[in-house]
């Protein structure tokens, strides 16, 4: 009586009750599908986002004052730029301020104002023009009243109309007003999912000159774009060291995409564990369904069990037969569940933009199949024990 023989008997018995087997299977299919799909979707989201992050920011270090370190924040300035000038990076010092724009007299909405140097897309590759042009270095230095809108700002202010050449009325704190002319628009950020706030990019000197909250000659943050294959950790360490002499300890914060990525990875793992745990509940329910159907099957086949024992089957052989039947059932459910998950994941990968990387980790598949086999083993133990315990004489008399 080998394993192969048992599997054959199991498949025959399951096939004999096709509809019932299928229905019992369904719980496991759904459970395995849920676990596999949710875990893999998490992986796909991470993979997609990480890939976008890499294309956008992996070669970037961000520096900004730590506003929580105390009241007296020492902002970044051109001396800091010079201090970093020997690093293998392009430096993009930026200003960030709040403001409002006026649609009609009396109708104002808030908007984020970002001061950048001229020709910023050449330095910061996350800035991609959708239309028009960026203000030049000389326009920027002159503090020209030129503005670039991000996609959100375009839709908020102009809807579907072409914003190029139009004027926007900006209103600052204290009611100061000024007008800027739109000369360009940017593409949405790959990871923003339309959720980024409305932003206007303006020449930094323009904001210094017009905005009452601006600090002349000061910046809110630096974007450091790495050259060639410079090592991001080494560059960040050098930048920290170079600026340490000019700023007190812990008054500056440094970010890079690596730390973002690991933070994202942690969130994903937590999410995966949570989702996996919730999905496992459906496996538990499925397992109870299997136990139920196996108990029914044992009762129905009492005479078969009696006969097998009369013909020389030992209790262990009967136990093995029903255990294997339960495991075959749940394993089949597992296979169907994984296939279903693979199909759905593929569909997601071709339809959802930020999950375009199809991921079905072999570990996930092996885990899903092992868990489904284990569910069969666990929930099959009791029915199989009942079958094994049956008295042959009683069983043969069973009607």
């Amino acid at each position: 009586m080998n394993l192969f023989e048992n599997i054959r008997i199991a498949l025959e018995a399951l096939w004999g009750n096709r509809l019932r087997s299928f229905l019992a299977l369904l719980g496991i299919v759904i459970g395995v599908f849920a676990v596999t799909a949710l875990v893999s979707l998490g992986e796909m989201a991470t993979a997609g986002i990480t890939q976008n992050l890499e294309s956008v920011t992996s070669r970037t270090v961000y520096v900004e004052p730590n506003y929580h370190s105390g009241f007296d924040v020492k902002r970044l300035d051109d001396d800091d730029v010079r201090a970093l000038s020997r690093l293998p990076v392009d430096i993009l010092p930026e200003v960030m301020l709040n403001g409002e724009y006026e649609k009609k007299p009396g109708d104002r909405s808030s908007i984020t104002l970002i001061g950048t140097p001229g020709n910023a897309p050449a330095t910061d590759h996350t800035i991609k023009l959708a239309s028009g042009r960026y203000f030049t270095v000389s326009e920027a230095n002159a503090g020209a009243a030129t503005a670039i809108l991000n996609d959100r700002a375009v839709t908020e202010i102009f809807g579907t109309h072409d914003p190029l050449g139009k004027r926007i009325k900006l209103v600052y704190t204290g009611g100061i007003r000024c007008e800027v002319i739109v000369i360009g628009t940017t593409e949405p950020l790959p990871m923003s999912f339309g959720a980024s706030p409305a932003e206007v990019m303006l020449p930094t000197p323009f904001l210094w000159r017009t905005h009452p909250d601006a600090h002349l000659g000061k910046y809110e943050f630096f974007v450091l774009r790495l050259h060639g294959d410079a090592d991001i950790k080494a560059v960040q360490a050098s930048a920290e060291r170079l600026l340490a002499t000019r700023h007190s300890k812990d008054s500056l914060q440094f970010f890079n995409a690596e730390s973002l990525k690991s933070a994202l990875g942690n969130i994903t793992i937590i999410l995966q564990i949570l989702l996996g745990a919730i999905a496992s509940l459906s496996l538990l329910v499925g397992g109870i369904g299997i136990m139920n159907i196996m108990l029914v099957s044992v009762t129905e086949r009492t005479r078969e069990i009696g006969l097998r024992k009369a013909l020389g089957a030992t209790s262990e052989q009967i136990r093995a037969q029903f255990l294997i039947e339960a495991v075959v059932l749940t394993l089949l459910g597992g296979v169907f569940g994984v296939l279903l998950a693979a199909g759905v994941l593929w569909l997601v990968s071709v339809t959802v933009p930020f999950m375009h990387v199809f991921r079905l980790n072999p570990t996930t598949v092996i885990l899903a199949l092992s868990v489904s086999a284990f569910v069969g083993l666990f929930f099959g133990v009791w029915p199989a024990a009942r079958a094994a315990k049956l008295d042959p004489i009683e069983s043969l008399r069973y009607e």
Partner: protein, 226 residues
């Protein structure tokens, strides 16, 4: 020559009822039976006479409460459940009133069944099962399912399933109980032929004309041999 079946003072007591009030049923009250190899014996008696219990004990489906049962000179009283299964598989061929064929398996697969538990290779099983079906005259029904066979054919498949074990004893429990006269004759003729071949056959029945086919009759009444 020692007996194949040697039963001495075997009793069987069943306890039924609740924990507070157990009722003892004495199914066998000290039975002595000897059956030699090659014999064709009928065990007869009314229902409740203990003939089924005796058959179960002879067939190792049940163990005596007391007394000794030696099968082929081996005491079976102390055997474990697992050992009993092994001895059943090697030495006892059962034929039941209700045939007990697996409905989803072909005649051939049904006959192979005891050999599955013997651990024979599929080719070996197939060969022996084919020979057994040929021996009962069903060479042309091997791939049929039980519901495609007549009652007499089903019982012949069941006999083939017993023969394939090459058992010491062929144990038939009311083998004609579910059959019409013609099919009964068919099956009993097969037993006659097997007896002539030298097989040991024990037939349990309450029908006198069936019992009359045997060379010796053991009459049972109230748990004892008359």
């Amino acid at each position: 020559m020692p007996s194949l079946v040697e039963i001495r003072g075997v009793t069987k007591v069943y306890r039924t009822g609740s924990a507070q009030r157990t009722v003892e049923v004495h199914a066998l009250r000290g039975v002595d039976v000897d059956i030699a190899a090659g014999e064709f014996v009928a065990i007869m008696g009314p229902s409740g006479s203990g003939k089924s219990t005796l058959m179960h004990i002879v067939g190792l489906l049940d163990t005596p409460s007391d007394g000794s049962y030696r099968l082929a000179e081996t005491e079976v009283a102390g055997l474990t459940e697992k050992q009993l299964a092994l001895v059943r598989n090697r030495r006892i061929g059962f034929v039941f009133q209700a045939f007990f064929l697996l409905p989803r398996e072909t005649a051939l697969r049904n006959v192979e069944l005891p050999l599955v538990y013997r651990g024979l290779s599929p080719a070996d099983r197939r060969q022996r099962a084919t020979a057994a079906l040929e021996a009962v005259g069903l060479a042309d029904r091997m791939t049929h399912l039980p519901n495609e066979l007549s009652g007499g054919q089903k019982q012949r498949v069941a006999i083939a399933r017993a023969l394939v074990q090459e058992p010491d004893i062929l144990l038939a429990d009311e083998p004609t109980g579910n059959l019409d006269t013609r099919a009964s004759d068919e099956v009993l003729a097969l037993f006659d032929a097997l007896h002539v071949d030298g097989k040991t056959i024990i037939l349990v029945t309450h029908e006198p004309d069936v019992g009359a086919r045997a060379r010796r009759i053991i009459h049972m009444r109230d748990g004892s041999v008359e």
